[in-house]
Symmetry: C3
Subunit: 364 residues, 3 copies
């Protein structure tokens, strides 16, 4: 499938220059671009590669002198990463899931399947489930009894949507994601060692009496808004009584763990391997870098941004930028890190001071 | 399905008051409870919600004046979370896996299937596998050759139970869990950079000679006790020669990684995204918070409790409460964290002291 | 299947002593070894167990006086772990995937299947995919359109190989691994809070203007070299324009997350739950301990070794040994950790010094 430079620029809302009727078949990095490809050279380091490759047309940052680069055509954009979104959307043929319902799919007769939905091999759809119009369900997907999938949703191979889970329109679920596992919620008949530890902050002795864990069943479900993305092999547990919730426009990366009863707002970015314990409330537009961890029952305000591997043990006010384990304000943490690197040497200085001032060696 | 207040109280071993023949259909949080639902208001913050919702009956903490709350009936409990276990168990209809063996399942003729076992679509059961009575096996599950599954076990969709793996009675395996992957165990013909690093604690130069990894195959299996729960998309590797072992009553949350040859005792709680390298020995009743990490070949004593994201690099005696990276005693770590926050300012004090005492600036 | 001591020694390139025609059926730890098993007692702590078990033959470290141990035969090896690789390889019958193509597999007519390939139940192979000779594809595996799988590759149950992904010869893919999910790449029309946070290192106020994320589609794929291993439930995302790459001989453990556009060199070891954000470049022979984290767009030189749970936020030169969060040189980090443990007490010393020298209390 080929596109003209003019068509692509129009899709981006950007301006095209030169031979705007030139056709390209796909995108490429400049050094490896063929004569029929559109080179992406929006940043300085890529521009030099144009001479090395064969591209006759390129996407460049606004203000670049495209003619000096020997190109026949160019598209100039003011926000390169945003242009990349438009470019890749325009050139993506989308996942290949054959139209219709594959003969091997096991679809309960009481399930309602929307117009234009595509259902792949070995899919299982439970009683009373509802599938939106044009939803694409890849092979080996499970959709539990009573689950609801929105219009234009794409569910990749082997993902699990549990019973009564609700998923909005235009949601992408990557392979192997599990939505609606049971919450991790157990209780002992008597007070457990972990309760004692929490209450005493580790100062109390731990009793060694036997304790067995009784299961708190998960009667709630999971509600996922519109335009959400769930990464590969992520796991979102159902709520105990109410539902676990993911707001509209929120994106979860791979291998993310969301515990029972968690409520996440809208337009958040939850990066790879983030883990949230149960009953956490996360506001809107929150960004959690990869491997962040959240203790249970805390609240994260709107617009919080946490650097990768930040471990958050307590409530965070709106707008705070965090870093570190345990999390503190990002600029404070930068100072702490600098101080930590100096620490071994400063310790020696303190020892010397102690000796000089108190006429004795340090005794700690 | 509805239950009377009297029946529910009896199931909990708790006392019922008022119109104990009132029928309820399900549980709800007080603010959203309908007239046919049982409101859960065991903590102070939920009691106010009763007036907002429609519930005529509620579960309350012992000592609460239920009549003053305008309720027609009440169940009073002394340990609310434990009551929640009983309540949710009573109200949970359980996962829907149709009785019998689905026509699409591929079951080796030599497999032994217990009475009352339910086997879903597209399940694959290998040669010589044994399935206990009333086991429920959801769609897309793999059960390898020679694997043994206990009575009343529930294995959710897409979970993988490898060849020769043994799983006890009443075990819950959440979707996508993998039990019996190969151990991550490789060796180079000559000493590798990682061995050099460990021996020298990072002081030695790393040689840059090429090294290729040779696979140590996993001939052992995995043995899982009774009443164990394995979370969604968790992975438990088989042992090299002997088996990896998970003791009775131990619960693993989502996305947990258990390396080869690990032996975990009974009644442990291993929270989300915990990772244990190979050959770790974990005692009984150990609680590891989310994202804890354990180095290989260490021993964790009975009743150890580690806060979330604790990284444990060495042996831990029984009963110790741990926090931090690297792990230290929880109360010590709390002091270290406090000190770290003061650190940038204290550094300035030390600089000033150095100048005052030694008449020169700090030179570190 | 039984082997003579002589045969096994020959397979290892090691020397056999005593009754070298003795036959053994499998390997065992000394204490539990039967008379027909070969005991593994290469380390001191296992030698005592020989008396407890029934083994008549054992593998021992070079120089051990095997006759004094009451054995009838022995194999002496100079590098025990390397010998273990040879021993387990020799004794592993390999995963049981029946030869031929299972009747239930859905194989596109345009796919090319190599000689001797074994394809299990419910496998789905897309249009134009190519499967190498003797590849073993277990049940419930998906192989996308245009994917290429090398000779002798083993793909375990439920793994997902996405469209156009290329996998080399002799690769092992453990159950549930996802290769070729979409990259986690989103952009806002205007500058986002996370961009502001990065630029200001957390010092700027975060605007609370609404922002929605636009998807950057992943048009690239994933290229995996020969002799690679991918752990259970790991996830490797496809590139945006070019491909994500894993070099020959590199091994990934369970639950590893590799973001879009990452390029990993050859013969690396990437341990359990490591996460790499997008566009990271990792050299050859790099070893990352469990739960390491890598920020996006950084470069890790050849032969870098990072201890478990090291969090790497910036470029690392070749040969460096790292530890800690944030990562610093391993020996420096060991000093920092020691200093941190002393810190609460040293703080008191500084307070006392401040009082003595400046005649006032600390005021920080």
């Amino acid at each position: 499938m080929s596109h003209t430079i003019k068509e692509i620029a129009a899709a981006l809302g950007a301006e095209a220059f030169g031979a705007v009727d030139l056709e390209v078949t796909s995108l490429a990095e400049p050094t490896v671009a063929g004569a029929d490809q559109l080179a992406l050279a929006m940043s300085e380091k890529f521009i030099d590669g144009l001479a090395e490759g064969q591209a006759r047309a390129a996407v460049l940052s606004a203000g670049t002198d495209w003619q000096a680069l020997g190109l026949q055509a160019a598209i100039l954009v003011s926000r390169p990463r945003y242009a990349l979104a438009g470019l890749t959307t325009a050139m993506d043929a989308g996942p290949h899931i054959a139209p219709g319902h594959h003969a091997t799919a096991v679809i309960d007769p009481s399930a309602e399947i929307g117009d234009g939905a595509a259902i792949g091999p070995f899919v299982v759809i439970g009683a009373g489930a509802k599938l939106g119009a044009n939803a694409k369900i890849a092979e080996h997907v499970s959709i539990g009894a009573g689950a609801v999938i929105g219009d234009d949703a794409v569910i990749h191979s082997g993902a699990r949507v549990g019973a009564r889970v609700s998923v909005g329109d235009r949601v992408f679920i990557q392979p192997g994601a599990v939505i609606g596992g049971d919450g991790f919620s157990f209780v002992t008949p008597e007070k457990s060692t972990v309760e004692t530890a929490r209450e005493s902050l580790g100062k109390a002795d731990v009793t060694t009496d036997a304790q067995s864990w009784t299961r708190i069943h998960s009667l709630g479900s999971v509600t996922i808004g519109d335009d959400v993305e769930i990464g590969a092999n992520s796991a979102i547990d159902r709520g105990t009584i109410s539902n676990t919730e993911i707001g509209d426009g929120t994106k979860l990366d791979n291998l993310v763990h969301i515990g029972h009863n968690v409520r996440i707002g809208r337009d958040c970015l939850i990066c790879g391997q983030v883990g949230s314990a149960g009953s956490v409330v996360i506001g809107d537009r929150v960004v959690l870098g990869g491997q962040c961890g959240l203790s249970d029952n805390i609240t994260i305000g709107n617009d919080v941004v946490a650097a990768g591997a930040t471990k958050i043990y307590s409530n965070v006010p709106a707008g705070r930028m965090l870093m570190g384990a345990p999390a503190v304000k990002m600029d404070t943490q930068v100072e702490i890190y600098k101080a930590m690197r100096r620490l071994p040497r400063v310790m020696k200085t303190v020892d010397a001071l102690q000796k000089a001032v108190f006429k004795r060696d340090q005794n700690d």
